[in-house]
Symmetry: C2
Subunit: 495 residues, 2 copies
Amino acid sequence: MDIYISGVGMTKFGRSKDSLEKMMAEAASSALKEAQLERVDAIYLGVMNVEEFVGDSNFATLLADTLGLTGIPSTRVETASSTGAGAFETAFYAVASGHMKHVLVLAGEKMTHLPTAKTTRILSEVIDRSERRYGATMPALAAMIAQKYAREFNLSPLKLEDILAQAAIKNHSNGTFNPYAQFRKTITKEDYLKSQMVSYPLRLYDCAPITDGASAIILTSEPTPIKVSGIGHATDTAAVRHRTSFTSFNSTKEAAQKAYTMAQLNPSDIQFAEVHDAFTLFEIIGTEDLGFFPPGEGWRALEEGITHLRGRLPINPSGGLKARGHPVGASGLAQLVEIVYQLKGEAGKKRQLERAEIGLAQSIGGLGNNNLVTILERSDRKRIVKEGWSPDYHPEIRVSKKSSIPPPSEGVGILETFTTLYATPEGFRSPLTLGFVKTEAGERVMACNPDYRSPKELKMGKKVYLKTREGLYVFEKFTLWSRLKHWFKGSPKSS
Amino acid sequence: MDIYISGVGMTKFGRSKDSLEKMMAEAASSALKEAQLERVDAIYLGVMNVEEFVGDSNFATLLADTLGLTGIPSTRVETASSTGAGAFETAFYAVASGHMKHVLVLAGEKMTHLPTAKTTRILSEVIDRSERRYGATMPALAAMIAQKYAREFNLSPLKLEDILAQAAIKNHSNGTFNPYAQFRKTITKEDYLKSQMVSYPLRLYDCAPITDGASAIILTSEPTPIKVSGIGHATDTAAVRHRTSFTSFNSTKEAAQKAYTMAQLNPSDIQFAEVHDAFTLFEIIGTEDLGFFPPGEGWRALEEGITHLRGRLPINPSGGLKARGHPVGASGLAQLVEIVYQLKGEAGKKRQLERAEIGLAQSIGGLGNNNLVTILERSDRKRIVKEGWSPDYHPEIRVSKKSSIPPPSEGVGILETFTTLYATPEGFRSPLTLGFVKTEAGERVMACNPDYRSPKELKMGKKVYLKTREGLYVFEKFTLWSRLKHWFKGSPKSS
């Protein structure tokens, strides 16, 4: 059974004085109007953390009421920062069940009214408790992934900086053509370099902003010009330290595999994509995980202009999360709204892509552990799927696993990656140096280092000395003194 | 396409030292074991407010990880206090879409670790903001509904007290036979009368307790002995004052109508039911809204023993929310677990019903504005649906509507119902007298009265004088003085 899109809508993203329900009603009205509907069979409402951002609960009911659609079933759906895509997927199955004909998917978040440290703390709650208690934030974890990516693919700090700047510059440039974008001005490499360090090596311009906004889509079982071709959804471990890879996301790969299989499409069939660039590097990793480019080659495609607005495979024509803005609950659905605009040729002269018959959106929930991939297609696109079609996308999925080895309390380890976090959450001192340390027993732990003030003093791949203090792991430079201490105590090898 | 249940599980409800994820994992393990499954195609996770009760977000991911099911799509679903039923409905459509075969529905809440005033405040967030700012809590709104019910159906305060006591006594008695129940001791009318007044006329024994617990169900497209026959879901206005009826819930009636229609069953076909008795009177109203008894007659059925464990139509054989406990996110699913136990004849000698081939569960979200009705049936039950079947359930649904008349700031009104709240939320003085006042323009407003200390001083249906103070409506006895003031100022009739 094919499922179609009959209407879309969104508010301008940015700082809004409107209440969350007012923004969501605005997006919903546009979508309902385009679909020429006054009522729908159900509402699926995506909002990540309305409880703490706004102080409300039972929000699905409030929205049905605000829209004047009292009576209609209304259900809230949440998958962390991929919530908008999660609500779309949930609604897709509801229509595909045949029990519903027209369904409104509505997503939004209101975030700008709170102090940044509080917003940072609320956003950090998506992180595994064991890592959050070190003060780890989303930028801190992303920064450690960026460091690891650079090391694994032999990019110097300067080269990494240049690539990340290019991603930011490209998406800001795209954003200038998007009337719904939070930021509509180009930035230069100089602007990028001048921007504040959030968590080394990530700067303010590497991070999606704090944003208010809402988006809406009507799904229907009646044929329209836009078809949903494939959806995939996958999770990964709550804690980042249990991952087998720090430079790709299993959850994107698994979700992509499912979406490509459902759509009977290969990565080479995709003409453009909206990729979850909550952090600049995540766009690059995303284009690799989705099978567009080989691992470690995504940055080259960016550098060569392949992913630019007028390149062979435009990524984030909307400006992405970086420039359009990132109201966490809304972004996953806003990506799909952009794809619909492009597929319908309604993106405006400057933003409209030439080839826009098949588009893909990838949305990341949490730190890469609740991801969705959705493929939309023009219904009038002719394609013949050969009998016995099989996908040519076979990503290496190295399943993450919690170790059952109890980690040692003291000992030698290898500093796999680290960051120095400057924008700490409520209750943590800045700067805060965090790292992932692999112990001799092969267990990875998060550790902090209260002494280092500058990331320049640390090197990935070097030995460090690990100890515990107040229930937290602390790492120190591996010096003669720590070596002696270690030698006297004996190494706590896999016990 | 028929959808079946292949496994259920739940924790003992009550005060637990376990973390929420541990409780949910326990419930999930039982369900997976019964279904003989190690993996499922997706998890739908119901939790109402994990953000504020536990301080976590991205909980669907954490659960997939905790269960060792990393990779599998995991989505959180929320519909206020009907969340467990909402997650079940969402999963039902996912399986009915044909895209999934085996799905785990998992619901839970952890509440007992917080101070009661904080829990009360968190639970109050499901109430419309405009009513919440008066200090209205769920018990306060339920109390005003109880008062109105008594007035509409001519029950004296003593009679109302007796009926409510009977509901509590029945459910506590049923709970004694349920090993999963929070309370397993009978109570007497004396105990009931001795219990603390929460919000006049509702006592502690009228209100479901604060509870920790989790429940789980596996839905599958493969035939099993238990079939899902019908599901219905409907909303009502966020604010209670916009309702057309204070003595029944439109959202239950609409949800029931949909469920009966899908199941091709009538109320008279239902052999037993789990009804959302968050407050004793809600069970009575529920049995009327579901078409078991005429409006205003539910209390008689209770009095006559019809709804008792050995009556003709047992209601809440599990002990209901009252005695089994009410972990808000879990209750809607726990009701369905109880129905499965009964249908399979596994409820234990003392609790097992004789006639248990079709059971119904009704779950209330918020103050009756996000309700679900679910009907389960034994697959081996023979029944022939006649050609051209049509339901004989035609409830009067009086659609709630927001008025567009701006309410007056001062003037005369009628006190429709009121309560004196003793267990106030954080930040409100106790006792707090609240009422709904109908103005001369026909608009209903919530109002408080800081002067009255005892509910005995007020009477429903009497004139009161309404004024505003610090943005809130305040009502006063209609005295000669207020009459004069009113006369001098002129009456603010519909303007």
